[in-house]
C-alpha cells in the first residue's frame, strides 16, 4: 500500500534544547501508524512519514501538544488556496463536460431535426455520438439520482436521469433491433437528440449558475491579508524582524506609527490612537496607553508602541472572527431550489401517469397490447423532462444580476437574490450602514456672552489650533470649519502642546486657549456658568455625538458637536420597507445613548447597543430560530459573521473587504436606499424564475397526453419525435425570452 504513506515536513514549536527533540521523536514514533519521525533541533523542523489510513496530521499535532510541543501544519493561507483550487477544478471539469456535450449534440441534432434521419446509418452515428454525452458529460445526473433514490428522494436530477436514460435505452434498442417494432406495425423512433439536448442545456445552465456564484473562500483570504507577514520584535534587548508565525505569546512586539498591529496584546510602552473600526465598526480612533488591549489587524495611529503579545496565530480575536465566518459559511443550509421542489412532485406523478396509460393500452388497446403498452410507458417518461428546465433559473438570475448591476446593486450569488424577497426583518449595522461612518462637525454652541462679531475670529482660532492637533477628531473639525468659514484664516500658533486622550493647549495672538474634553477643561480650571452652554450641554448628553470644548484662559467659549451623521434617505427607506412588510432592527457596538438617538432619528423601533462582534451573529441566529427570514446589512469586519449567517447578507460597497465578501448582495455606493430596489428586484427575479419553470414545463405537460396516446385513435401516432422536438424548442425560447424581460424591469 505505497500510496497510503504520507510524508510531511513541518515546523515544530516549543523545543528549547536537543533533549526536547529526542523526547518528541520517541513520543511520536510510538504512535500507531507512524512510520518514521526525524526531528531536527537546529532548524526546529520535523520530517514525519505516516500511514494516512491510520493517523492524520491533526492527531499528530494533538499528540505533540500533549507533551508541550506543536506542529505547524498547513497555514490558513494554504488551506484557502486548497479550497480555491478545488473550486476551480470543479468549474474546469464542468466546462470540459459542457464543451464535449455541445460539440457532440450539434451533429446529433442536425441529423435528426434537419436531415430527418435520412442519411445512411443515421441512428448508428447518433448512438455513438450520444454515448459520451450521456455517460461522461451527464454522469452526475445518474449518480445523483441514484444517491437520492436510495433515500427515497427525487429532484431535478431524477427527472433528467430517468428521461434521458430511458430515451437512450429505447433508442438503442430501436437502433440495434428495429425489426422488433416494424414487424409489429410500429415505427421504431429514436430519441437520441432529446436525450443529448436535455443534458447539454441543463449542463449549460449549471455552468452559468456555477460561474455566477461567489467564491466563499475569498473573504477568509482577505482577513488573512490583514495580518502583517513580518513583525519587529524586541528580544534579548535587540530589535529583530521575524516572520509573524514565529512570534510567541510573551514576545514584545514593536509597532511603528501607521503600522498594522500584528498580534493581540497589551501595551507595555507608548501611547497612541488606534483605528479599531475594522473590529468595532466605530470610526473614531481610540486612545490607548500602557496596559490597554490592542487587537490584530487594527491600525496604529501616530505613536510607537511596544506591545506584549498575549494572543498570536490562531488565538487572536481576528482569527476567531475568521473562524466564525468560516463556520457560518459552512453551516448555512442550502436553499432547496424551486426546480427541485417541483421535480419532487412532478416525477412521481409522471411515473404514475406513464404506468396508468400503459395499463390502459395493455387492457383496452389494440394489438399488439404489450408492445404498445411498453412503448407508451417509455415515451411518456421521455417527453416529461423539459430541456429548458436547466435554463429556467440561471437565465433569470443572470438577467436579474444584470439588472441589479445597472442600478448599483451587485448580486454575487443566486441564493441571495432568491432569499431576499422572503425577508421580513432587515437587521442593520449602525456605523457605516445607517450613518456615514465619518465624524463631521455638526454645530458650534456658543456661550451667551460671546459677541456675534467675535465668533468668526474664535472659529479661526479654533481652526488654527486644531491644525496642530494630532487627535483624530481634529480632521473633522478642520474640514468642518473650512467649509463653514467664507475666508478661513490660519493664525500663528505658539507653545502648542498635545495632551493625548484629552486635548491640547496653545497660545494664539497672546492669549492661552484650551481645547479638548471635559477632563481637559477640569485640568485647566476652565469653567462656565453660561446658561446656554449648560442647557445645551445637558441636552447633548442624551444625543449622539462628541463634544469638544474651547476655553480662552479659564472661560469656556463654546463647544463643537461632532457627529457621525445619518445617511440621507435612510428614514424614508425604513418607512418604505415597513410598508413592504420588512421591519428594521439596528445592532451596534456603540453605546446606548448614541444608539437610541440614531434609532429615533431614522424611525427604527428595535435596537441593541453595546454589542460585541459575536453578539451580532447570535442575534441573527436567535431571529432565525423564531422563524424570521433575516436580511442583514453591514459594512465592518464585526458584521462579517452576521452577514454570512443571515439568510441574505447585504454589504455596503464602501465597507471593508471582508464584509463585502461575506455578503451575497453589495450596494455599490453604500446607499442604503438601494435595499428597496434590491427587494423589488428579488421579487421580480423570483417571479421570473417561477414563470420560466411554467414555460419550461407547460409544452412538455401538453405533450404528455399525446405521448400517452390520446391522438392515436385519430392519427395513429404515439409520440412523434416532431412533438418532442417542438416542445424542446418552444420551451427553451419562451424561457430565454421571459428572462430577457426581467433585464429591463424596474
Amino acid at each position: 500500500m505505497e500510496e497510503t504513506i504520507k510524508n510531511i515536513k513541518t515546523s515544530v514549536t516549543g523545543m528549547t534544547c536537543a533533549a526536547c527533540a529526542n523526547s518528541l521523536e520517541t513520543f511520536l514514533s510510538e504512535l500507531d501508524g507512524v512510520d518514521s519521525v526525524k526531528i531536527n533541533y537546529a532548524d526546529q523542523s520535523a520530517n514525519i512519514s505516516f500511514r494516512k489510513d491510520l493517523i492524520s496530521e491533526d492527531v499528530l499535532n494533538d499528540a505533540a501538544s500533549k507533551i508541550g510541543y506543536g506542529l505547524i501544519l498547513g497555514t490558513a493561507q494554504k488551506q484557502v488556496e486548497q479550497t480555491e483550487y478545488i473550486e476551480e477544478e470543479r468549474l474546469n471539469t464542468l466546462k470540459k463536460k459542457l464543451i464535449i456535450a455541445l460539440t457532440l449534440t450539434t451533429p446529433i441534432f442536425v441529423i435528426s431535426m434537419i436531415l430527418n434521419n435520412s442519411i445512411a446509418y443515421a441512428n448508428e452515428i447518433s448512438l455513438v455520438l450520444s454515448i459520451p454525452v450521456l455517460f461522461y458529460s451527464g454522469n452526475e445526473f445518474f449518480i445523483n439520482a441514484y444517491k437520492r433514490i436510495r433515500h427515497g428522494q427525487m429532484n431535478m436530477d431524477t427527472l433528467v436521469a430517468l428521461s434521458t436514460g430511458i430515451a437512450f435505452l429505447y433508442s438503442l434498442f430501436n437502433t440495434v433491433y428495429p425489426e422488433f417494432l416494424i414487424s409489429r406495425g410500429l415505427e421504431p423512433h429514436v430519441y437520441f437528440e432529446s436525450a443529448v439536448v436535455i443534458i447539454s442545456l441543463i449542463l449549460l445552465g449549471r455552468y452559468l449558475e456555477e460561474r455566477a456564484k461567489s467564491k466563499t473562500s475569498s473573504s477568509i483570504k482577505n482577513l488573512i491579508k490583514l495580518q502583517p507577514s513580518v513583525v519587529t520584535i524586541f528580544r534579548n534587548g535587540e530589535e529583530t524582524e521575524v516572520p509573524v508565525e514565529e512570534v510567541i505569546t510573551g514576545d514584545l512586539v514593536i509597532i511603528k506609527p501607521g503600522g498594522r498591529i500584528p498580534v493581540d496584546g497589551k501595551i507595555k510602552k507608548g501611547e497612541t490612537y488606534v483605528d479599531e473600526s475594522m473590529i468595532t465598526g466605530e470610526p473614531i480612533p481610540v486612545f490607548k496607553t500602557k496596559k490597554d488591549q490592542v487587537f490584530t489587524g487594527t491600525i496604529n495611529g501616530n505613536g510607537t508602541l511596544r506591545v506584549l503579545a498575549t494572543g498570536v496565530g490562531n488565538d487572536t480575536l481576528l482569527s476567531q472572527i475568521i473562524e466564525m465566518v468560516r463556520n457560518a459559511q459552512a453551516e448555512k443550509p442550502k436553499v432547496q431550489k424551486i426546480a427541485d421542489k417541483i421535480a419532487s412532485v412532478f416525477v412521481p406523478v409522471v411515473i404514475l401517469i406513464a404506468i396508468f396509460s400503459a395499463a390502459i393500452w395493455y387492457f383496452v388497446g389494440p394489438q399488439p397490447e404489450l408492445t404498445h403498452a411498453v412503448s407508451v410507458l417509455v415515451t411518456v417518461l421521455i417527453i416529461a423532462c423539459p430541456c429548458a428546465l436547466g435554463l429556467a433559473t440561471p437565465t433569470a438570475l443572470m438577467a436579474g444580476i444584470g439588472n441589479g448591476a445597472e442600478q448599483g446593486i451587485l448580486i454575487r450569488n443566486a441564493d441571495s437574490l432568491e432569499s431576499l424577497q422572503k425577508s421580513n426583518i432587515l437587521v442593520l449595522d449602525k456605523t457605516g450602514t445607517i450613518t456615514e461612518g465619518k465624524p463631521r462637525l455638526k454645530e458650534i454652541i456658543w456661550a451667551g456672552n460671546v459677541p456675534e462679531e467675535d465668533k468668526v475670529y474664535y472659529k479661526n482660532v479654533f481652526l488654527s489650533i486644531e491644525k496642530e492637533s494630532e487627535h483624530p477628531l481634529g480632521k473633522a473639525i478642520i474640514s468642518g470649519f473650512l467649509k463653514d468659514l467664507k475666508n478661513p484664516e490660519v493664525f500663528e500658533i505658539e507653545n502648542s502642546q498635545n495632551v493625548p486622550g484629552k486635548g491640547m493647549v496653545a497660545d494664539c495672538k497672546g492669549s492661552k486657549y484650551v481645547i479638548g474634553n471635559l477632563k481637559m477643561m477640569d485640568d485647566h480650571d476652565a469653567f462656565t456658568n453660561d446658561p446656554i452652554i449648560k442647557a445645551k450641554h445637558i441636552e447633548y448628553e442624551r444625543r449622539a455625538g462628541t463634544k469638544v470644548y474651547m476655553a480662552k484662559g479659564q472661560e469656556v467659549l463654546c463647544f463643537a458637536v461632532i457627529e457621525d451623521m445619518v445617511k440621507p434617505g435612510v428614514k424614508e427607506t425604513i418607512k418604505q420597507l415597513r410598508k413592504e412588510g420588512i421591519e428594521a432592527e439596528m445592532l451596534t457596538g456603540d453605546n446606548e445613548v448614541t444608539a437610541k438617538a440614531v434609532a429615533r432619528e431614522v424611525g427604527i423601533e428595535h435596537y441593541k447597543a453595546n454589542l460585541l462582534p459575536s453578539d451580532k451573529g447570535k442575534t441573527i441566529k436567535e431571529l432565525q430560530s423564531r422563524n424570521f427570514k433575516v436580511a442583514m446589512a453591514g459594512d465592518g469586519i464585526n458584521d462579517a459573521e452576521a452577514l454570512a449567517l443571515a439568510d441574505t447578507g447585504i454589504a455596503m460597497g464602501t465597507g471593508t473587504d471582508i464584509a463585502i465578501d461575506s455578503a451575497g448582495i453589495i450596494l455599490m455606493k453604500g446607499d442604503l436606499s438601494k435595499v428597496l430596489q434590491a427587494v423589488k428586484l428579488s421579487r421580480n427575479a423570483s417571479k421570473t424564475i417561477k414563470q420560466n419553470l411554467f414555460w419550461a414545463f407547460i409544452y412538455n405537460i401538453i405533450a404528455i397526453p399525446i405521448a400517452a396516446g390520446v391522438l392515436y385513435p385519430f392519427t395513429g401516432w404515439l409520440l412523434s419525435p416532431m412533438i418532442a422536438g417542438a416542445a424542446m424548442a418552444f420551451s427553451s425560447v419562451s424561457v430565454v425570452l421571459n428572462s430577457l424581460f426581467l433585464r429591463n424591469k424596474r
Binding site: T16, C17, N236, L252, K269, K291
Partner: protein, 70 residues
C-alpha cells in the same frame, strides 16, 4: 530607572526565547538583556522606577532557569 545584574544559566538563543514571556510580563521592567557570551550568563534588567529583584528572580525560576543576584 535602576538596573540590576544577575548570574544565570540562560545559555542559548532558545533559552532566551523561553524566558522571554516571563520577563516581558513584568510590568515595571523597562529593558532586559542576557549576555550569553559572558561565562556567568549575565542578565541585566532595567526597571521603570524602583528595582524589584524578587520579581525577576521569581520569573526566571518559573521559566526553569537558575538565577542569583550578583
Amino acid at each position: 530607572m535602576e538596573s540590576i545584574k544577575f548570574k544565570t544559566n540562560i545559555n542559548c538563543g532558545n533559552c532566551i526565547k523561553s524566558v522571554t514571556p516571563h520577563l516581558n510580563d513584568l510590568d515595571d521592567v523597562d529593558f532586559w538583556k542576557v549576555d550569553t557570551d559572558n561565562p556567568d550568563k549575565v542578565l541585566e534588567v532595567t526597571f521603570d522606577d524602583e528595582a524589584n529583584e524578587e520579581e525577576v528572580i521569581k520569573a526566571v525560576e518559573k521559566a526553569g532557569f537558575n538565577i542569583e543576584k550578583i
